[in-house]
């Protein structure tokens, strides 16, 4: 075969392959569109039953439940995505009715089986469904999924475990941070959903080696108002090796607001602590809301670090009349200093937020 013939043959093969590929793509798309249209038609016919199931009163749901449970497999496959989507949008009797239907259709059974599928999309999708169903039996298999090789699957398992609410899953959920790939906020939200039953595992995590695990434990204890853990959090603030964890401990103590928190936060504004901790402590004293913090915050108005002084002034503005008096006196007595500037700014913002102009004239810098 000559070179010219070889080139012609190659070009012909190439053209043939391109044409074939084009045909496959066009046919695939046409089939996809056809299937979508068919599914839309099938599910539109059944949608009134779905709405009746979740929108009806409890005594009216038996008829649509029977109709939907008896649908043939082809129609149900068209309806199922819409039913799952609706499940996440309703609560109360509507949710109970929808869970009954989906359990009857074998959705939980199929999802449990798919948790060990070779496809990561199927594993994640199964975890998602089990979470939506709050299927308690799925807790243990979902904990196993926390060590899945795929980060998306691990993240979906964390969310699902939070939705199911098994407190025993708290420790493995916290540990899922060690491997990376699961967002911190997702883990925090899941732990919050587990409720007070998760607290022993959270307190235990305060002494873990991984700072991300300690940080999430601190954050969740603060957000859930675990006042009985205030002393443990004071210990974290005093001795943790990570500034990020200590800053979160400050924030958590500000939210908890017990007397032991107040003393620890006042101490945390001292010069021995890192600036980030001091800045956050100045804010947390305002969150805590105790007038006992006024003298310490008043002193901080003269702090050399801008953000410490600024946050102290904003906190004072939130602490009622004695604190407002401390700000006013600072403006008058220390005119021309940065402390007076911070105090004036905090008072002016307070006035503007209340809808009237600043009560004190703007300070003139010396």
């Amino acid at each position: 075969m000559s070179a010219a013939q070889l080139v012609s043959l190659t070009l012909a093969l190439l053209a043939g392959s391109v044409t074939l590929l084009g045909l496959v793509i066009v046919t695939g798309r046409a089939l996809h569109r056809h299937r979508d249209r068919r599914n839309a038609r099938l599910s539109a016919g059944v949608r009134p039953w779905l709405l009746e199931l979740i929108g009806g009163d409890s005594e009216e749901v038996n008829e649509p439940l029977l109709q939907l449970a008896a649908l043939d497999r082809r129609v149900w496959r068209a309806v199922e995505p819409g039913a799952i989507s609706l499940l996440g949008k309703v609560s109360g009797n509507a949710r109970t009715a929808m869970v009954r239907l989906l359990e009857q259709r074998g959705l939980a059974r199929d999802a449990l089986r798919n948790l060990s599928s070779l496809s990561s999309v199927r594993r994640a999708s199964a975890a998602h469904v089990l979470g939506l169903l709050s299927h308690a039996e799925a807790a243990f298999p979902l904990v196993r999924l926390l060590s899945d090789r795929n980060a998306e699957v691990r993240a979906t398992a964390v969310r699902a475990l939070g939705q199911i609410g098994t407190a025993g899953a708290a420790a493995p959920i916290i540990a899922s941070l060690a491997r990376g790939g699961v967002p911190f906020q997702l883990v925090a939200q899941a732990l919050i959903r587990l409720g007070p039953g998760a607290r022993p595992a959270l307190v235990e995590a305060l002494s873990h080696d991984n700072p991300a695990e300690r940080a999430v434990a601190v954050e969740v204890l603060g957000l859930t108002g675990a006042v009985e853990t205030a002393r443990a959090l004071v210990g974290v603030l005093a001795g943790d090796s990570s500034d990020d964890v200590r800053v979160r401990a400050v924030r958590a103590l500000g939210r908890l607001g017990t007397p032991v928190c107040l003393d620890a936060l006042i101490h945390a504004t001292g010069p021995a602590h890192p600036q980030a901790v001091r800045v956050e402590a100045a804010t947390a004293l305002g969150d805590l809301g105790s007038p006992r913090a006024v003298p310490a915050l008043r002193e901080l108005l003269a702090d050399a670090h801008y953000h410490v002084a600024h946050n102290a002034a904003r906190s004072l503005a939130r602490l009622g009349r004695p604190a407002a008096a401390a700000l006013t006196e600072t403006v008058a007595e220390r005119a021309g200093t940065p402390a007076a500037g911070h105090a004036w700014e905090a008072l002016a913002i307070q006035d503007l937020q209340a809808g009237h102009p600043p009560r004190l004239p703007a300070p003139v810098p010396r």
Binding site: P48, L51, G55, G56, G82, G88, K89, V90, N93, A94
Partner: protein, 124 residues
Amino acid sequence: MATVLVAEDDSDIRDLIVFKLEQTGHTVIAVGDGSAALRLARERTPDIVLLDVMMPGMSGIDVCRELRQHAETAGLPIVLLTARAQESDVAKGLTAGADDYIVKPFSPRVLADRVHSVLARARA
């Protein structure tokens, strides 16, 4: 029974609200965005308006504020629909003039009861 204007961009939730309110005897006008809600509130003067907080374009809070600023719609009872994560928006909505709010996911029965009680208060 009343005419209810519903503005919700999620078609699942919109269909469910329409179904439930029609089941309880109301006439429902449903739209998927804030601008259409504002236009229809002026044209059709419904008895009550349900607004999703998070909609493309005009948010429910924007619509609420606009409705309160015009004499012909200023007195309309308004209920906001808000996701749990947007609960901080509730204060903004109430400041903008909303009468009540419902957190998603919601029970359709509770939604119908809330609409009924807001209407009853408005008519009292």
